[in-house]
Symmetry: C2
Subunit: 394 residues, 2 copies
């Protein structure tokens, strides 16, 4: 067992991203492995939001809107664009993930008015499925669940749009975006990728793969803060025909003209709905500065290494006491899921000892590894903590 | 002219709400008359958001969700409920006003599936009309514009829902909620009131008037901060049949069960969509504490007095150089609108001298009076500033 302790120390000492942990306000004694649910706070955020309230809101008052606030959804979108492989002008930050899935799906159905079906990953994160169900009802289309590895079984010339998760929230399985996108396109349908569990984890190539639309949240690996606004990507050549249903004044061509008829703005701004939520947007903007100069290839390399080391610790310390649900090869995000019948109670006990992952019903322990602040010693301590409880003799 | 200066000083000295200005972080030299667009920052907000980031997010991390964050939309809603005359359990804070109008209108149409028309105030704030247009398209209903004083002309047994503004954003005209609600109900239709320009201005009696649904923003007279989340009210007896289309996981009966099928939560929680935006919600929660112990009857009395005094100053100092668009009787909110052909340039000049109202196309100068922080001297200085420019000889 000392072998693993030493390996962790050596890996941490050699970690080229180790200095980034200093950017985050984290207790040194906490093992925080839930950044796939709520990222840790970048140190610069607290001061920034205070400054936005005191200096921008307090001193500039209404004048801050034209100064810098009105353009924040697009400006913050440009900071996310390079993280998802998007050229400028295609990413907007606004509203929640659920609301953006709604915009994306209705918009996608309208791009193919003669097609009657929406396909959704049957194991999707629930909100995606719930929203898809609502969109089907409102647009008079039919919802078809699909197994992602067997898309051929459901795709047809009736498929308008396919909503897929890049990383399965429960198992941590990473899907092949290139292959699935090509398959969807082969029947002339549109694809919407949910990047909630992959944005900030690995290089994503939305433009290069000709992805149609994508949505993602910013409070997981992007560390934007609890419930921070989500992002939506619409490929540039679709902008002109993209008509989303939350056609509030924010997405109008000339919002301050107060014109009686809705005319969508050119470009990605037409994905806006109401007044942008500035405090949360500017907190996110500060959080995203941590990514300046960070190479996603390095993030991905460390994430695979961290999760691989955790699986190694689990194998050695826990044996077959738990089942590793997450793929052992590179088809995984930065999350490792373990199955155990007492998962709920186990996670509660670990959390009480400041080793924090999360639980997903009915029997899954999830551990997220954020390469910007997690350490190999975190992986080792989490596995050791589980072993102390489940396999004390080993 | 000295008469008005002295009157202002006397009125300020006798103002029973004068002490509340101390709750706000406002430069003493700024005359801020745009609280109907963006309320001034309550002093307690800056420290609160910093604390939320450092102590809740930073120290509690994911554990803050069950601690206090998840229930914030309902909890903050309960702070707004008494300001709009709602008993507990009927107001929720989430998303933008535009998004909540969408939820309310689709939900209302679904309450009357055999009715085919949505009626909207023809002079509505644009976003209400844009969203209504979208809802009509998605629900297969017809949109009918109406003059609020002539609702009889359009109401029929085909009217499913009527969307009305309590205060006209441009003229400041206050509509009779009791009369219009009764008229809408007389044909068996539902009413949705937009309270953006009246919440925090005067006593509102949603429950007593049996209003069906209402929405409102929190960043105007409620001082929640730029783009702060909006609120939605659904009358209790409608909850069970209210089905809104943004059926994200937040509104599910058991969100963390991650069930495959959507089942709406009981009560107002079913108006939730995605993950709540915590930083903005908790900033708003702090801002609303300023209202503790404030009687809306006093707020209304001061608002009428302030706007009345402003109109008096305008009459005396400006004569017929400008047209007072806002009703001179009590059918007004806390906003006075003046018409002048050079309105845009005039407001720019005033703003440069730190006398801040706003401009609405094509020729309206708007001045909002927030009784919690505005002074009679603000009213006088604004009128004097206009007079210096437009009627220097008077």
């Amino acid at each position: 067992m000392t072998g693993l302790t030493e390996r962790a120390a050596k890996l941490d000492a050699e970690d080229p991203l180790a200095h980034l942990r200093g950017e985050f306000d984290l207790d040194p004694d906490v093992v925080y492995l839930d950044g796939n649910s709520l990222g840790a706070p970048p140190r610069r955020v607290a001061g920034r939001v205070e400054q936005v309230v005191r200096e921008q809101w307090g001193r500039r008052l209404i004048r801050a809107w034209p100064d810098s606030w009105w353009a924040a959804p697009e400006r913050v979108g440009e900071k996310i664009a390079p993280l998802v492989g998007a050229a400028p002008g295609q990413v907007l930050v606004a509203d929640s993930t659920s609301v953006n899935i709604f915009k994306a799906l209705v918009g996608a159905v309208r791009l193919s008015p003669k097609r009657s079906e929406i396909v959704v990953d049957a194991a999707t994160f629930p909100t995606d499925g719930y929203i898809a169900e609502s969109v089907a009802e409102l647009t008079g289309t039919v919802l078809r669940p699909a197994v992602v590895d067997e898309l051929d079984d459901v795709l047809s010339d009736q498929t308008a749009v396919v909503l897929l998760n890049h990383v399965d929230y429960k198992t941590g399985r990473l899907y092949d975006m290139a292959a699935a996108t090509a398959k969807v396109h082969s029947v002339g349908a549109r694809v919407v990728w949910d990047l909630c569990h992959s944005a900030g984890v690995l290089p994503i190539e939305l433009d290069a793969l000709k992805v149609d639309l994508a949505v993602g949240c910013t409070y997981k690996f992007l560390n934007g803060g609890p419930g921070a606004p989500a992002f939506i990507y619409v490929r540039r050549d679709l902008h002109e025909s993209f008509r989303q249903p939350l056609s509030g004044w924010g997405g109008h061509r000339d919002p301050f003209a107060m014109a009686p008829a809705y005319e969508p703005a050119p470009g990605i701004a037409r994905a806006r709905a109401g007044t942008p939520d500035i405090l949360s947007l500017l907190a996110l903007e500060a959080a995203l500065e941590v990514w300046d100069g960070v190479d996603l290839a390095d993030v991905r390399a460390k994430g695979l290494s961290l999760t691989g080391f955790f699986i190694e610790c689990v194998d050695e310390l826990l044996g077959d006491t738990v089942e590793v649900v997450t793929p052992r090869d590179e088809r995984r995000g930065h999350q490792v899921s373990l199955r155990h019948e007492d998962a709920r109670a186990l996670m509660a006990e670990m959390t009480a000892r400041e080793i924090i992952g999360d639980f997903r019903t009915p029997d899954v322990l999830r551990f997220g590894f954020a390469p910007l602040y997690n350490r190999y010693m975190d992986a080792h301590r989490a596995a050791q903590s589980l072993a102390d409880r489940l396999a004390p003799m080993k």
